[in-house]
């Protein structure tokens, strides 16, 4: 048995109350290990997106603590980047400005910003669309911009919040493959991914570990280790269908 890799992010007894009274989440203990692809799966309203926002430092937990390595997380998590379900692109900025604006906030010079933004726009396959506005793009292309914007921050942790659920089947397929390619690519430094999804197939296809959530209040019902399954994982590969069925059993 090898030693588990160190935790990039750790949550201890994290709870979240909506409006201070309604318990949405917890208490939850969770670890995102360096270099892993971790998925949170569960029915809607189980607080998995809340958990992701807590990990990104966008929400403060009502109780419990969040650790980045050995330091407590305060404010926005600068080592993480988020891809949002609704893309959350700024409609008044071109593609390249959308990707570069986070770099501007981090104090990069204009030339450096442009160079890095173009690199990641190219990486997601959108070169030629730098000067387009989001409203001129299809939903799939918008989410590619969202991915490029997150990767351009060169985060240690990439948080994906239901990134495929607003897309058509084909675009979702494309971007899933892209994310897996990026994760495996030596060119990209981001090696740890946290995915929130309600699709079991998606989680089984992509992750090393899956945390199955239950609702009311949101909590981890089961941890499933998938590191034994070979990649790529299509439904016709041995073990994949069975794993999916077993997890449906856990959820229902």
């Amino acid at each position: 048995m090898t030693q588990a890799p160190p935790a990039l992010l750790r949550m201890e007894k994290v709870e979240y109350f909506f409006g201070g009274r309604i318990r949405v989440l917890g208490p939850v203990d969770l670890e995102v290990r360096e270099g892993e692809f971790l998925s949170l799966v569960g029915p809607s309203g189980c607080g998995k997106s809340t958990l992701l926002r807590i990990a990104a430092g966008l929400l403060r937990p009502t109780a419990g603590s969040v650790w980045l390595g050995d330091k407590p997380l305060r404010g926005v998590n600068r080592r993480a980047a988020v891809v949002f379900q609704s893309f959350a692109l700024f409609p008044w900025m071109t593609v390249v400005d959308n990707v570069a604006v986070g770099l501007e906030a981090r104090g990069l010079g204009a030339r450096e910003r442009l160079k890095r933004a173009e690199k990641y726009i190219d990486l997601v396959g959108l070169s030629g669309y730098e000067r387009a506005y989001p409203r001129e793009l299809s939903r799939g292309m918008k989410q590619l911009v969202g991915v490029a914007r997150a990767l351009a921050l060169e985060p240690e942790l990439l948080c994906l919040d239901e990134p495929f659920s607003a897309l058509d089947v084909l675009s979702a397929r494309n971007i899933r493959d892209l994310v897996l390619d990026v994760w495996a690519s030596p060119e990209v430094t981001t090696k740890t991914i946290l995915l929130v999804t309600h699709s079991i197939e998606e989680a089984v296809e992509m992750s090393d570990r899956v945390l199955v959530f239950q609702a009311n209040p949101g909590r981890v019902a089961e941890t499933v280790d998938l590191s034994g399954l070979t990649r790529p994982r299509r439904a016709d590969r041995p073990g994949v269908r069975e794993t999916i069925d077993r997890m449906y059993g856990l959820l229902v």
């Binding site: 966008l58 980047a81 008044w92």
Partner: protein, 561 residues
């Protein structure tokens, strides 16, 4: 990178010529103006451009202050739940209060602070114009910030957009379309109140500031038809020019900041394209506007962050100030009411208030009755026709209708119409445009599919109006009525007490009581009591009638499946 647009000297030259002419006109023309405290303006029509420039300068200053304050208060209300609980009710009451009634009090304060100097009277005028522009801007900023998609502001936080960067990349773009839309209304409102703002009465003293509003008013009162026509022509040219050169391009420019998911590539207004070819414009924007804007945003961001850091002392100071004001108000109130018995005039207030209420209700109702068929007709015109109708409405809305009240009064009595009818007609000038604007914007936003469905189902004429058109525009219509209701109370103050051709035309009503007490008897008790009565009635009716109505209508008739 987009291709560099060719630079052009003619554009530079034209721009500099216009600026030079304006500057020369302002400098040399001003030497012909009479001082602010002379009893009347120089009536020569040749001076009209100077009067126009003066009025525009006042309005621009008031507008700039209104926009800055609206951004600050709207953002604060959206960002802080504590601030929201103070700001929103305050704005709500102040917006629904007939500001014209408070003009004399405001003037007294300003003239008290600056002395009865040109500066004091000008400041009072700018403040009065400001009060006619501010409220809807603040509500607009607040509204567009709270309806901003949550993930968008989360994304901004996540990307580290703070301070000036957050303002320039998130807040300003997000509020821009609404700000432009409301600016057009505010600016029209500024024109509407220009006359009341340029003729300043501070107690017994009366100052006529040189401006288009005061000129027009003087021309009407003295019955100089040629001067009136010239002044109106100047006004018409000015509003049209502003539409072509400022508001139209801004509206087009604002489209790029809309939150719609799909659409055309944002367009650049033609005037923007022309100006960007000028070297002078480029230099000024690069060397002056952009650095100044960034500095302003930094300061703004810093100031906005202050309540977070110094929230407690600031809140405490605000509470102390409010308390001091309350104590002052109570002592003044005691001196006014308890120290002496109610005058006969004050006993008239309930009846007057009731009669005025009937007039206001009639004014709003009539506006609705007229607007629905007009909006229906305009909606069938097609995009181009609708654009023209909207522009005409905006220009009409810019007309200082109050200037015509004497004319209306004279005309009405000449043809033997009762002044009561005349007053309602004057109120209609303050209500119709609000209702019509909203009815039209509701009519335009009826989905094409819904009209097609109506056609397929055979709904035509009255049946279409009753089953489809009116329900579809109802939420907007109610919004328009609420605004019109506020506007009508303002118009009451001017319409119940009209001096025309040296003769007084008046009807029984709270506006007449207030005006008489302000300008003739100088009875502070009656002024305070009638203002208080009017404000109380307006706020109560807002709470028990308009708000529930709006909620009910918005719930039942909103345009979502």
């Amino acid at each position: 990178m987009p291709a560099q647009r060719p630079r052009s000297y003619p554009v530079d030259l034209g721009l500099l010529t216009v600026l030079a002419v304006l500057a020369l006109a302002a400098v040399f023309g001003s030497t012909y103006l009479r001082p602010y405290d002379s009893p009347e303006l120089d009536p020569r029509a040749a001076l009209l451009p100077i009067y126009l420039l003066r009025s525009l300068a006042r309005m621009t200053l008031a507008y700039a202050v209104a926009v800055l304050l609206a951004l600050a208060t709207g953002h604060l209300a959206a960002a802080s739940p504590v601030a929201r609980r103070v700001i929103l009710p305050t704005l709500d009451v102040l917006q629904s209060v007939p500001i014209l009634g408070f003009f004399p009090a405001a003037v007294t304060v300003f003239v008290g602070v600056f002395g009865p100097s040109a500066l004091g009277v000008e400041a009072a005028a700018v403040f009065l114009i400001f009060t006619s522009m501010f409220w809807n801007l603040a509500f607009g900023v607040y509204g567009s910030l709270i309806t901003l998609p949550e993930e968008l502001s989360l994304a901004a936080t996540h990307l580290g957009l703070r301070g000036s960067l957050r303002w320039s990349r998130l807040v300003l773009p997000a509020v821009f379309p609404n700000l432009v839309y409301n600016s057009i209304l505010s600016w029209a409102n500024g024109w509407y109140f220009l006359i009341a703002s340029e003729i300043i009465a501070a107690g017994p003293a009366r100052y006529t500031l040189p401006g288009l509003g005061s000129y027009l008013s003087q021309a009407l009162v003295t019955g100089q038809t040629d001067q009136t026509v010239m002044a109106l022509a100047t006004l018409l040219v000015a509003t049209l020019a502003l539409h072509l050169l400022v508001w139209g391009p801004l509206e087009l420019w604002a489209e790029r900041f809309s939150l719609g998911e799909t659409g055309e590539r944002p367009r650049t207004p033609r005037i923007g394209r022309v100006l960007s070819r000028s070297r002078a414009v480029r230099w000024v924007s690069r060397e002056l506007v952009i650095p100044a804007g960034q500095a302003a945003l930094r300061t703004g961001g810093w100031l906005m962050a202050l309540p977070g850091r110094a929230g407690r002392p600031l809140g405490l100071a605000a509470v102390c100030l409010l308390f001091a004001l309350a104590v002052y108000g109570v002592t003044r109130g005691y001196a006014l009411f308890a120290a002496r018995p109610l005058s006969a005039e004050a006993r008239e207030i309930p009846a007057g208030l009731f009669l005025s209420f009937l007039r206001v209700a009639a004014g709003v109702l009539l506006a609705v009755v007229v607007s629905i068929p007009l909006a229906y007709a305009a909606a069938r015109l097609g995009t181009h026709g609708r654009g023209i109708v909207l522009t005409v409405l905006q220009v009409l809305g810019s007309f200082p209708a109050t200037a015509f009240f004497p004319l209306i009064a004279l005309g009405m009595t000449r043809y033997g119409v009762d002044m009561d009818v005349g007053a309602v007609f004057m109120i209609l000038t303050g209500t119709f445009l609000y209702v019509m604007f909203n009815a039209l914007s509701g009519a335009v936003s009826i989905p094409e599919e819904m009209n097609e469905a109506a056609t397929v189902l055979g709904l035509r004429g009255i049946a279409y109006l009753r089953r489809v058109f009116v329900p579809a525009i109802l939420p907007r219509l109610v919004t328009g009525c609420v605004t019109a209701w506020g506007g009508a109370w303002n118009a009451i103050i001017l319409s119940e007490y009209v001096i025309a051709g040296g003769k007084l035309y008046t009807v029984r009503g709270i506006g007449a009581i207030l005006d008489h007490a302000t300008y003739v008897s100088g009875d502070g008790q009656v002024v305070a009591l009638s203002l208080a009565a009017m404000v109380t009635l307006i706020v109560i009716i807002n709470r028990v009638f308009w708000e529930p109505l709006y909620r009910g209508v918005a719930e039942r008739y909103k345009m979502e499946a």
